[in-house]
């Protein structure tokens, strides 16, 4: 007698944005649809340097499972990822490398700074550690903690999802964004 097969019928569906449905068509806002699609399929680049990288490994494993949120494919190539997750201590020697990785990412791109060291240098207030990655690249969400628990990393990821879902399609080409990048010396 074989074990009875169980099918998962309770699949959670994302709510469709405000729309007008007709016979064979649905009219809605492009921004909302694009935002919806993007936020549920963010592919991260795990820039894991030290201990926070271990917490990320736990987040990506089966118990805390970041793949539930759409981050199924971790890409280590900046050309193919949406979100740069910087996890761990960045030393001053590593700074230009991180900036190079950020510059190679294609728009739209977001940055998540995980852990105290990436946010502000953390406990390492010394001549060799970069006191926060926002000295070299623009950051969208900061996750504090030393190291943050996987739930905290997921919370940060969900905030990124909120940002992605509500972003205007014209943001990246506008002057304000260009001025912000110019502050970091990025064209």
């Amino acid at each position: 007698m074989s074990r009875p097969v169980q099918f998962n019928n309770k699949v959670k569906m994302v709510e469709a944005p405000a729309n007008f449905m007709g016979d064979g068509f649905m009219a809605t806002s492009l921004e909302k649809v694009v935002g919806l699609a993007r936020k549920n399929s963010i592919w991260p680049l795990p820039f894991a340097t030290s201990c926070c990288g271990i917490e990320f490994m736990a987040t990506a494993a089966s118990h805390y499972d970041i793949a539930r949120f759409g981050a199924e494919r971790m890409s280590f190539s900046p050309r193919q990822c949406d979100l740069l997750m910087v996890m761990g201590t960045i030393s001053k020697k590593m700074g230009p490398v991180l900036k190079q990785v950020y510059l190679q990412m294609a728009e739209p791109r977001w940055v998540l700074s995980v852990g105290a060291c990436a946010c502000s240098g953390g406990i390492f207030d010394s001549y060799s550690v970069l006191q926060g990655i926002d000295q070299i690249i623009p950051v969208d969400v900061y996750v504090p903690g030393c190291p943050p628990r996987p739930e905290a990393i997921l919370d940060g990821f969900m905030k990124i999802q909120e940002l992605v879902g509500n972003e205007s399609l014209r943001r990246r080409t506008g002057d304000k964004y260009k001025d912000m990048l110019a502050e970091y010396g990025i064209q």
């Binding site: 020697k93 207030d125 010394s126 001549y127």
Partner: protein, 167 residues
């Protein structure tokens, strides 16, 4: 016959005489001081001697003693005899204004990066080193962080509260 500290000391004094000073044995590890220009000769002797056979350079580091005027930087060599399992340590002292020490890279390949690190952090100039540039710090750095006069903390932060940091 087991290789004891007395035997090592006798052999070294036989060869170098009064030049080696400051014989101490902290925690059983024989330690002595050699003059700066003799460091390669001492290393070579300890390497070649059939009985001593100190053919493994465990560590090469420096210490900054600001109180010892005229010989502030001490370069410390830790050697290991793999056959008899005996370790010794010897130091050479150099003046901080002219910290030139002969490089041990001709004898030990591992001394290459260890000397680069010592140069990076203390400023000891190793003569004869094939590629003496900074290894762990940023290349543009113009000071030597591990010397006692340089501060450990990052100097460009503006948000640190003096009261909380005991200043």
């Amino acid at each position: 016959m087991a290789l004891t500290n007395e035997l090592i000391k006798t052999r070294l004094v036989e060869k170098f005489g009064d030049q080696l000073t400051d014989w101490v044995e902290p925690y059983g590890m024989l330690t002595f001081t050699a003059p700066k220009d003799q460091n390669l000769k001492v290393l070579q002797f300890l390497f070649d001697d059939a009985e001593l056979r100190f053919q493994f350079l465990t560590d090469l580091q420096a210490v900054h003693y600001p109180a010892r005027k005229g010989e502030e930087l001490a370069v410390v060599y830790h050697l290991h005899n793999l056959v008899d399992n005996v370790r010794i340590r010897f130091k050479v002292f150099a003046d901080v204004t002219k910290p030139d020490v002969f490089s041990a890279t001709a004898l030990y390949q591992s001394a290459n990066w260890m000397e680069r690190e010592t140069y990076d952090f203390f400023g000891v100039n190793f003569l004869g080193h094939p590629n003496l540039i900074r290894v762990l710090n940023v290349d543009e750095m113009d000071y030597f962080p591990m010397r006692k006069e340089f501060p450990m903390e990052e100097q460009t932060r503006v948000d640190k509260d003096d009261a909380m940091f005991g200043r």
